[in-house]
């Protein structure tokens, strides 16, 4: 469901900065449905990849073979990202807060961490330079605190937070609001899974479940071994 919802966020022809896992599935689903001309760019330097297997990392050799362009990382960050050529960036994180800030650095104090996470990678600059940020993350009060322990990626450009129960969107002031519900989910379920007093839009959208085509593509073509599809 998350992959299908994320895929629907992408318009044909857009240039998308992709991470591994669900974002990659979403992009490849979109390519095979409504957005055949989506251009996928990976942090690793592969542009226009059409991988013949499900990539296990953003540096997977299958992303190189048959891609349109491979460039060094200085070009990825300077000529594509900082240049403003990326229309959509996907991000995830251990914590997402009320204002869409993301933490992938530490749980606890930076100098005395409870849990040391991997760090930014390209997430800081993706959040700053991609024109539209889509966050993909599962809901839980721990994952959605009022304030993240560390701002790895600032929330200003976040346009949608796609969770396993609902979609959140920022209001005019950048505070995340409940905007749309998955089938069978009520607003109260979502509020209970968020660490702050989540407000809801006056009119909540109801999202359609994945179509038969979407499900078949995801389960049989894109991730037959269920590496990333669990729900």
């Amino acid at each position: 469901m998350m992959a299908a919802v994320a895929a629907r966020e992408l318009a044909d022809g857009e240039v998308v900065f992709v991470g591994i896992g669900l974002p990659n599935l979403a992009c490849n689903l979109a390519r095979r449905t409504h957005a055949p001309n989506l251009v996928l760019i990976y942090e690793s330097g592969a542009v226009g990849a059409t991988p013949s297997r499900l990539p296990v990392s953003i540096g997977d050799p299958a992303l190189v073979t048959g891609s349109l362009m491979v460039c060094g990382m200085a070009d990825v960050f300077q000529l594509f990202l900082q240049n403003g050529r990326i229309e959509v960036g996907f991000l995830g994180g251990a914590q997402v807060d009320r204002h869409g800030n993301i933490n992938t650095t530490v749980i606890g104090d930076y100098k005395r961490p409870k849990v040391r996470l991997p760090g930014s990678g390209g997430a800081a600059e993706i959040a700053i330079h991609a024109q539209r940020i889509l966050i993909v993350a599962k809901l839980s009060p721990r994952a959605f605190p009022e304030r993240v322990d560390f701002v790895t990626s600032p929330g200003q450009r976040v346009k949608r937070v796609i969770t396993d129960k609902a979609v959140l969107e920022p209001d005019d002031k950048g505070e995340l609001m409940l905007a749309a519900l998955y089938p069978g989910i009520e607003a109260a379920d979502v509020k209970a899974a968020v660490g702050w007093n989540l407000r809801a839009r006056a009119r909540l959208d109801r999202l359609d479940p994945p179509t038969a085509t979407e499900l078949q593509l995801l389960r049989e073509v894109l991730d037959p071994k269920r590496l990333y599809l669990k729900s």
Partner: protein
């Protein structure tokens, strides 16, 4: 030159050491040799520390880590790294990928800093005071800066080079060129030594020129369990397996004993890797050629 000699001559205790390669072409062979030679107090720099730095940290080679993403790509954590940071036994200096790329770019251009539009709204500059800013002399706006990184030694794994060290790389290029040009000394480890004529037949493919190379070493499969495009695939089973090995100190020590300390060199390591060829040898996908005539 043997990798043993190349490391002995070019990697010293206390050095700032870079083994680069973004997922692709990571010189595990060189990392293992550094562990075997028991180098100490190294400042290890790399965008993505990966399994090889996790092993070097576990083996006690590292005093400090300079990095931007420390995970097991596509799998999970680097547990030796996490133990060291959570137990505060390893000094860290942390950037984003762009910050690390910019540090190498500045080092390669021998400028003291590099300018980037980054870090507004993030907590990274609070965590790392070396992220500063500069005012544009034209527009007056403030832009982020990072300081140059000029390693003592950079080790790059390449697909092929000639005997002088003119090295060609294809597939993912990462920041190898910048890291090599930024470095005082450069070790190039290759899958294949080729005749100079092969290099000269396609000069646009040369990423690192012999003029900056200190040592050339031939070590086929020297990047395993990472990969070399056109030679062998990533050993994903090993990456997945590292989660279990690295989670447990004893398991990790046992791994190092068997596969690093317990072998003399890469050839012995390779003897301990069963069925690599059938599991991982690359298929054929040749490029369309080009004509360099005039």
């Amino acid at each position: 030159m043997s990798l043993r000699d190349a490391v002995a001559r070019n990697v010293r205790d206390g050095d700032v050491v870079v083994i680069e390669g973004f997922t692709h072409l990571i010189s595990f062979a060189a990392g293992h040799e550094i562990i075997r030679q028991r180098r100490r107090d190294l400042t290890l720099c790399r965008l993505t520390p990966d399994l090889i730095y996790d092993q070097m940290i576990a083996a006690g080679c590292a005093k400090k880590l300079v990095f931007s993403w420390a995970g097991n790509p596509g799998v999970g954590s680097l547990h030796a790294f996490r133990r060291a940071v959570e137990g505060r036994t390893l000094e860290i200096e942390e950037y984003s990928h762009f910050g690390m790329v910019a540090r190498f770019a500045a080092g390669a251009a021998r400028l003291p800093f590099w300018t980037l539009r980054d870090y507004a709204g993030t907590d990274l500059p609070k965590a790392n005071p070396r992220i500063k800013s500069v005012t544009c002399p034209y527009t007056g706006e403030a832009l982020a800066t990072v300081p140059a990184l000029n390693p003592d030694v950079t080790i790059v794994h390449a697909q092929r080079a000639d005997a002088q060290g003119n090295a060609q790389i294809w597939g993912l290029l990462g920041v190898q060129k910048e890291a090599a040009f930024a470095s005082e000394r450069v070790i190039v480890v290759v899958e294949e030594l080729v005749d100079e004529r092969v290099i000269r037949s396609d000069p646009n493919r040369t990423l690192i020129p012999a003029a900056i190379v200190s040592a050339v070493v031939v070590e086929p499969w020297g990047a395993h369990p990472s990969y070399a495009q056109g030679y062998y695939d990533r050993d994903n089973d090993f990456y997945v397996g590292w989660e279990e090995i690295s989670r447990d100190r004893a398991e990790l020590a046992h791994y190092l004993d068997e596969f690093v300390y317990g072998v003399q060199d890469r050839a012995e390591y390779m003897e301990k890797q069963p069925r690599l060829l059938e599991r991982l040898k690359a298929g054929e996908q040749r490029c369309a050629g080009v004509n360099y005539g005039f």
